[in-house]
């Protein structure tokens, strides 16, 4: 690799380089400041903001970095800088900024403030892993980025060490994660044995060749789906989600439920679109190479995930666990959008993700505020809270209605685009199942509202007041939820311009 192509590649990975520099700065600042660590969160936000600005400015350029493989006409690298990657990077960075703002006021993080420098360093590691994962097109780079992401999140899930539940959550997360990474690596090695290369573009051209053993490929892809399905909490690989979401500190739960899922979905979109699509038709539908039936697998996964997520959430009394199962259900809807195997499907996934991030972050933030003040996450302790803390009550109404998907909120627009894509692909039965699931989800979301407004407060509940800063952050999440329910065209235009994947 000569110096000019190295320079080109370095220019294309500028956001990741800036992120690494800020990681080092955070670690060094943590080392220098012994006891007063209040400045580190703001430094972290600054780092994410600078990286975000760089990503926005390079959103229109695209190219390969680190060319490793070349056919006779084209050159392929292992890192693809294209608008789809840029979209996910922006999403992940903005979610990270919100999470850091959450941790400034969170009481769990305040209790471990002596170690908080390491917390932000680990968050930087996680963000770096996610940013490389959404742009990686070489199987080895995918695995390494996935490991970086997973390792930081195992440690972050068990970071506060304050209760037994916390360490139990981290241990369960780690054991499940390590086993699924191992299975994924086994699948990657079988794919390498079949095709002789690890670059997804070359695998595409080799899979169209004559001698691929279908059964072996089926086995390998199922193993790789074990790893990817773990990250997106798809149903047979979802068993870690409720326990980890309940045991981890609530800011990390919010982070895992949005950002980690986004990275997993970006990975899935890339693997299918680059690895298995032979050409995209004029109506937007993908024509797959006939070696593996992705549609059947994705439809099966999505139906199982939606149903199990929604039905299990009905029984939950702990709010964090209920939100965990609800996030599993949302993953099911997202997989359904992807199962249409069309560009409309990908647009629906991206739109749904933006709104899902807003709604989920807002819901977790309100649960965090209430848990900090009253010390409980149980739904019975929310009795009558709607009257004593009216600001939180109204925000929670808007966010929960949006999570169900009723107009005039953003959640409705997300589900609208999802159903448009599904009906366009003529998958009527699955669409009916999705609508039924949405109806079921109405119950457990509105149950919270019932406890807040229609149940009399017991004498021991105290009123929860959100401080000024917390109100501002909550408004930043709630107002867009309402606004985008009515005026959503800019979001749709933005995502439609972001779905081009390099080289397809």
């Amino acid at each position: 690799m000569d110096l000019t192509s190295l320079n080109n590649s370095l220019r294309l990975i500028t956001p990741e380089i800036i992120l690494s520099i800020f990681l080092v700065i955070v670690v060094v600042v943590d080392l220098i400041l012994k006891s007063n660590k209040k400045v580190i969160p703001y430094l972290a936000v600054l780092g994410f903001a600078v990286t975000g600005i760089v990503v926005i400015s390079s959103l229109d350029s695209s190219g390969f970095a680190f060319i490793t493989a070349s056919t006779s006409s084209k050159q392929f690298g292992m890192f693809a800088h294209d608008p789809l990657g840029g979209f996910f990077k922006l999403l992940i960075l903005s979610v990270s900024i919100f999470i850091v703002l959450f941790t400034i006021t969170s009481s769990e993080i305040k209790q471990i403030h002596l170690r908080s420098g390491e917390f932000y360093a680990l968050m930087y590691g996680m963000v770096l892993g996610m940013m490389v994962l959404v742009s990686a097109v070489d199987l080895i780079l995918i695995y390494v980025a996935l490991e970086l992401l997973s390792l930081s999140s195992y440690v972050l899930a068990g970071f506060t060490k304050l209760r037994d539940r916390n360490s139990e959550a981290a241990l369960k997360y780690m054991i499940y994660g390590v086993v699924s990474s191992g299975l994924m690596l086994f699948g990657i090695s079988i794919v390498y044995g079949l095709t002789g290369t690890t670059n997804l573009y070359l695998i595409n051209s080799l899979l169209q060749g004559p001698q691929i053993n279908i059964l072996t490929l089926l086995f390998a892809v199922l193993l790789i789906m074990a790893g990817v399905g773990f990250k997106i909490s798809a149903v047979p690989f979802h068993f870690w989600t409720p326990d980890v979401y309940e045991g981890a500190p609530i800011t990390i739960t919010a982070y895992l439920s949005v950002a980690s899922k986004a990275a997993g979905f970006a990975l899935l979109i890339r693997v299918i679109q680059i690895g298995f699509v032979s050409f995209v038709g004029s109506d937007g539908f993908w024509n797959l190479i006939p070696v593996f039936d992705w549609k059947a697998l994705l439809v099966l996964l999505s139906v199982l995930t939606m149903t199990l997520g929604n039905l299990s959430a009905l029984w939950q009394n702990n709010l964090k666990r209920m939100l965990a199962y609800s996030s599993i259900a949302h993953a099911g809807y997202l997989i359904l959008a992807l199962a249409t195997l069309s560009t409309q499907g990908v647009v629906a996934v991206l739109i749904y993700f933006i709104f899902y991030a807003l709604m989920n972050l807002g819901a977790f933030y309100i649960v965090m505020i209430i848990a900090d003040r009253t010390g409980s996450e149980d739904i019975d302790d929310y009795d009558g809270l709607g009257y004593t803390s009216s600001f939180l009550g109204v925000s929670l109404i808007i966010l929960l209605v949006s999570l169900v998907g009723l107009p005039p909120t953003a959640g409705f627009i997300g589900k609208l685009y999802l159903f448009i894509a599904v009906l366009d692909a003529e998958m009527y039965v699955v669409a009916v199942i999705a609508v039924l699931n949405t109806v079921v989800s109405l119950y457990y979301y509105l149950r919270v509202l019932k406890h807040m407004y229609l149940t009399k407060a017991s004498d021991s509940t105290q009123s929860v007041r959100a401080s000024g800063g917390e109100k501002i952050i909550l408004l930043l999440l709630v107002v867009p939820t309402l606004l985008f329910g009515i005026y959503f065209q800019p979001i749709v235009d933005f995502t439609k311009s972001c779905i081009t994947v390099l080289g397809v």
Binding site: M1, L122, S152, L194, N213, T216
Partner: protein, 166 residues
């Protein structure tokens, strides 16, 4: 059947028998020591494939690092709470069925697939080629692995440390 084949079968037998005893032995310290022989057998298989550097790295990292850590963990926690660690299987029939299906699928795949092969001479030493490709072709992966190790170090130290009272 020349001498190299016999050596291969010996190493393979060592690896498989030790792996079997790792899993089925009732005494957990014995399992850890059988793991030593398994890792050693794999290093021998690497040497037979011509990957000398990888074999030495396997011994240095796995035997010299990971196995020692495992041994420390097992030895210190084995007799502390007077609860012996149970290492048996609870549901034998379902486990046997699932493992049998999985092993059958795996065996048929391994035997019947046409793997991509290329004819290559076994190089005299792999260190130069390995080092060169790590720095030119796979340099991004190399750097990210560096950050991964840093994060692992920070995370492990942060989790394992005893809390300082203010």
């Amino acid at each position: 059947m020349d001498l190299y084949d016999i050596i291969f079968y010996l190493f393979a037998l060592l690896t498989l028998v030790s792996a079997y005893f790792v899993v089925t032995n009732k005494n957990i310290v014995h399992s850890a020591f059988f793991l030593l022989f398994t890792l050693f057998g794999i290093a021998g298989l690497y040497v037979l494939l011509g990957a000398d550097f990888l074999a030495v790295v396997q011994i240095m990292v796995y035997v010299g690092g990971i196995l020692i850590l495992l041994l420390f963990g097992v030895m210190i926690t084995n007799k502390i709470t007077n609860v012996s660690i149970k290492t048996g299987t609870i549901h034998i029939i379902p486990a046997a069925i699932v493992i049998g299906l999985f092993a059958g699928a795996l065996a048929s795949i391994m035997v019947k697939t046409q793997w991509q092969t290329e004819s290559a001479k076994i190089p005299f030493t792999t260190s130069y080629a390995l080092g060169k490709s790590l720095i030119t072709e796979y340099v991004l992966i190399f750097e990210i692995l560096g950050i991964l190790l840093l994060i692992a170090l920070i995370g492990a130290a942060s989790i394992a440390r005893r809390e300082e009272k203010e």
